[in-house]
Symmetry: C2
DNA sequence: CCAAAAGTGTTTGCTCTACACCCATGG
DNA sequence: CCATGGGTGTAGAGCAAACACTTTTGG
C-alpha cells in the first residue's frame, strides 16, 4: 500500500504560539481564558486551527495577529505535540511555536479584543493551564534560555533602539542571574550583531549610547538556530 | 469563536522518519521507491499516515518497523513541514523524525519486504528525492552532526559492545574529519556515558577493550537534547 | 559638587589542542 | 621478531571569568 492515500481519518491540526514579551520588568506570556468546555474558565495558549491554504508559520502569525494586532514577530517552531488524549474531545495534533515581541510594540490585549479574554502573565507565575499547555510553555522557556545563551536573540524583545544596559537587564531578567557588565558588553559587541546609532538616551546619570540590531541580524539569528 | 471546534477541513498528517545506520563503512539512509504518482519511481522517505490512536512517535516507530522489522531505535522529532503545495495532491503536513539504528541490527530490507522497494543509500550520495524530502534529509544530517558534537550519541549507531576505535571511526565517518585519538578517548570517557566491559575484541594487533553504554545513557542523551 | 548610571582593560585560571611513543597480541 | 592496531600524558595556546575605577550628565 502506498504510504500516501486520502481515505484516512485525520487528526485535527492546530498551532499554539507561546508569545513572550517584556512588561513591567518581567518576562510575560500571553494567555487566553477558555469560554467552552473542556477546561472552561482555564487559561490556555492562544492557538487555533490551521487553514487549508496557509503554511504552519502563517497560521501561527495569524493567531498572533488575532490576539495582539501585530503582523510580525520573531517566530520559531518549537515542537509538535500529538499524544492521543491530549485533547479530551478527540485527536488534535498541535504545532507549538514561540514568538518574541518587542517591549514597546502596540499590543492590543488589556485593550480587550473580542469576547475572548486575553491577558499577560509573568512567565514565573503562570496559572494552571488547559490541555498540555503547561508542558509546552515550560519547553518554550527552556528554549528561550538556551537561545539567549548561544545566539544573542535578546534584542528581539526590545524596541528598535536600546541601550546596552537595557539589553543586559533583559538577559538577566530572563536567565535569572546577574551578568558581569564588562564581559556582557564585550561578548555582545564581538557577536557583531548590533551596532551603535547616533542617538543617546538621557535620564539619570550619564547618557547612554543607543544601539540597534544590524539589518542582517535577524537572518543571522535564524541561521544560527538549529532548525530550518 | 472558540479556538477548538471540529468542522474544519483538515490537512492530512503523516510522519517521515529519516532512518540512519552504518553500513559498508558509511552513514546510510533508508529510502523507498514510490510506485504511484506523483513522483512515481522516485525515492522517498518511508513515511505514512498517523493513525487515530497512536502518538506521533508511535507512528514513526510503526513506519520503522514496517520497513525494517525493528521494533525500537533511538528516535527524535526533527521538525514539522507544512507548506501548502509540498504535496501536489493536496494539503499534507508531515512530522519528520530521525532514527539511529545499530550497525548490527537485523534489518530486513535487501531481504525485500513487500512490493515496496526499500534500499539503503549513502547519505553523501542520495538520489533525487520526492516531495521536500531532500530538505528533510539535509536537515536531519545537520542535526545528527550537531548531536554528535555535543552529546556523545554516536554509540546509538553501534552494536551493544564496541571498541573506542570503532566509536571514533563512527564519529569520523559522520563528521567527515579526522579526530585526535587521545583527545577523543578522553572526552568520551569523561562524558561518563560509556563504561568498559570485561570483554576484549581480538583481531589483528593488540586486543581492544569493549565498551557498552551505561544503562542510563539513553535517558541522558534524550535529556540533553533540546527537545521534549 | 554630589548622585547616578555609563563606560572601559587586564590578570588569572581553565579548557581545548597538538603531539609521539610504548604495549599486547598473532603469525 | 615483526607487523598491527591499542593504549597512554603533557606542554602551550586560546578563551572565559573575575575584578574596580573613571567619565559624563542633571540637579
Amino acid at each position: 500500500m502506498s504510504p500516501y492515500t486520502y481515505d484516512y481519518p485525520r487528526p485535527a491540526l492546530t498551532v499554539d504560539p507561546v508569545i513572550f514579551t517584556l512588561r513591567e520588568d518581567s518576562l510575560q506570556v500571553l494567555l487566553v481564558q477558555r469560554g467552552d468546555e473542556p477546561f472552561a474558565g482555564m487559561w490556555a495558549l492562544p492557538g487555533g486551527f490551521v487553514n487549508q491554504h496557509e503554511s504552519l508559520e502563517e497560521a501561527a502569525l495569524r493567531e498572533l495577529e488575532e490576539e495582539t494586532g501585530l503582523k510580525e514577530a520573531y517566530l520559531e517552531q518549537l515542537y509538535t505535540y500529538g499524544d492521543p488524549g491530549r485533547d479530551p474531545r478527540g485527536r488534535v495534533v498541535t504545532v507549538a511555536y514561540f514568538a518574541l515581541i518587542p517591549a514597546d510594540a502596540p499590543v492590543r490585549p488589556e485593550g480587550g479584543s473580542d469576547a475572548s479574554q486575553a491577558r499577560w502573565f509573568p512567565a514565573a507565575q503562570l496559572p494552571p493551564l488547559a490541555f498540555d499547555h503547561a508542558q509546552i510553555v515550560s519547553y518554550a522557556l527552556r528554549r528561550l534560555h538556551y537561545k539567549l545563551e548561544y545566539s544573542a536573540a535578546g534584542f528581539q524583545l526590545l524596541p528598535a533602539e536600546f541601550t546596552l544596559s537595557e539589553l543586559q537587564y533583559t538577559y538577566e531578567t530572563i536567565l535569572g542571574e546577574a551578568l558581569d557588565k564588562r564581559n556582557f558588553r564585550r561578548r555582545i559587541l564581538e557577536a557583531n550583531i548590533i551596532e551603535p546609532t547616533e542617538h543617546l538616551r538621557v535620564g539619570e546619570g550619564r547618557p547612554a549610547r543607543l544601539y540597534q540590531y544590524r539589518a542582517d541580524a535577524v537572518a543571522e539569528v535564524k541561521a544560527r538556530r538549529l532548525f530550518p
